[in-house]
């Protein structure tokens, strides 16, 4: 992969897009998991509570006073209320995992969830959370993977139309990038333009 192609790949990756490369055609595919109904991003690595659907809040929560402490504190206890009760609980105060005594006793009694349902020991999860199953925007349970196929080329304003004519039919997008990777032209299929911008136009993806 050439440096100018790499500059675009890293940029897209920093925008939470997954980037794939074909070494023969020297072209890319960019993918993104989205909700089938509303198109909102979908993250399979972020778990949700099986009792209420709340996503992992990535925070310590005190089961006694509901005080919250950032995860950077690896040994947050005792809490400011004096109790050793900071755990990785569900963020929802009304979740049965927090309000039902019988259920919370079961959860605490199990090794994997004794520090809360969102606790994780190396790769092992508590069992009471599941990879994203509900859209955070519309609560749909259906998602799929969207893709865009694109080609990255060196920006040469004199030949841009010629290159567009070659690649337009083959790709969803063509991205032109200048020598020092600071100027971009993003052309969507059949929408030729020569507008030089300081960044890749992400709206043209998908």
């Amino acid at each position: 992969m050439k440096l100018f192609e790499m500059s675009v790949a890293y940029k897209l990756q920093s925008e939470n897009l997954q980037v794939f490369y074909n070494r023969d055609t020297e072209s890319f595919i960019c993918s993104k998991d989205v909700c089938l109904e509303c198109n909102k991003e979908w993250f399979h690595s972020v778990n949700q509570c099986v009792f209420c659907g709340s996503e992992n809040p990535f925070v310590w929560i005190c089961s006694h006073c509901d005080h919250k402490v950032g995860l950077a504190s690896s040994t947050p206890n005792p809490c400011q209320c004096g109790h050793n009760a900071l755990c990785k609980l569900c963020f929802n105060n009304n979740c049965p995992s927090r309000t039902d005594i019988e259920l919370s006793k079961i959860i605490i009694s199990l090794k994997n969830s004794s520090k809360g349902i969102f606790d994780k020991r190396s790769a092992t999860r508590s069992g009471f959370t599941i990879s994203q199953n509900f859209c955070k925007n519309c609560a749909s349970e259906n998602n799929y993977i969207k893709i865009s196929e694109f080609k990255v080329l060196k920006l040469d304003l004199e030949n841009i139309k010629k290159q567009y004519d070659i690649y337009n039919k083959l790709f969803d997008l063509i991205i032109f990038v200048n020598e020092d990777f600071t100027k971009f032209i993003t052309i969507k299929k059949n929408e030729f333009n020569k507008e030089v911008k300081d960044d890749i136009n992400l709206k043209n993806f998908f």
Binding site: Q13, V46, S131, K136, E141
Partner: protein, 285 residues
Amino acid sequence: MIIKFPSNPFPRIDPKKFTKFNKKRVTEDFVQINLERQGWTVYEPFQDVGIDRIATIIDKKSNKKIIRFIQIKTREIEASSKDKFSFDYTLKPKDIICDPRITFLFYSDYTEDFIIFSINDYLELCDKANFTRSHFEVPAFKFCNHRVGPIIYEKFDKKKGNWKFKNEDLSNYLNEKGLDRIKNAEIDNNKDLFLNKIKKISSFRRKHFFVFEYAKKNASNNSLLPEQVEIINKYIKNFLNLKKKEILKTYKNNEKTKDNLSKEIKESMNLYLNNNIFETAGFKE
């Protein structure tokens, strides 16, 4: 020219000589080259997160592009008896993505075989082989460390052996036949079928991921008792019976609670969330 599928693209390299610590890249390249030799265009991830490869090919009948997201699992088969060998692997809830183009490719390096399933075929096979409960409903699956071994290689004499999924014959999913199955362009060309298959996967997730079964009757410190399972499932069922607007109400309340937290806590929460978005997807060694 007909090219044997699969075949070792690096004849001087013995795939058996790699250990689990250094075989991932070589086996993924092995799969990639084999697919390319069959006419597929294969894209490799810029960084190793999520899907292992994306493969595309033009459907000769419709002239439309077929796209498959390939998850590769390479394993050395292990002898479970004199004539039987098992291919053990771990699947996690996040491997079951609701996109019918997801393809599981199991590569047995010792026998040089590919077993290729579309995700819908895999889930249907689990149902058919009566393997759904012990695969997806036991706590270990939700713990993300449930190693299963339904794929079996039987070899009774010096002839080539047979692959099975429990008792189900796998010859239709093996090598060229398996590749032909995923080359079927119906899901790429028929939107209704595509949507129907998405919904089948999400129904499967709802039915089997949101139910707990106890693994053993003699509870250890991480096992569930039948009466505990009953309580857990009761609350999960209550949640699944909620209407979408009730779930969204919880989400809105959570956002409000988050908004009221200090800037430092919110930044910390967002930082860890972003770090986890690209956590290496499952289906790895």
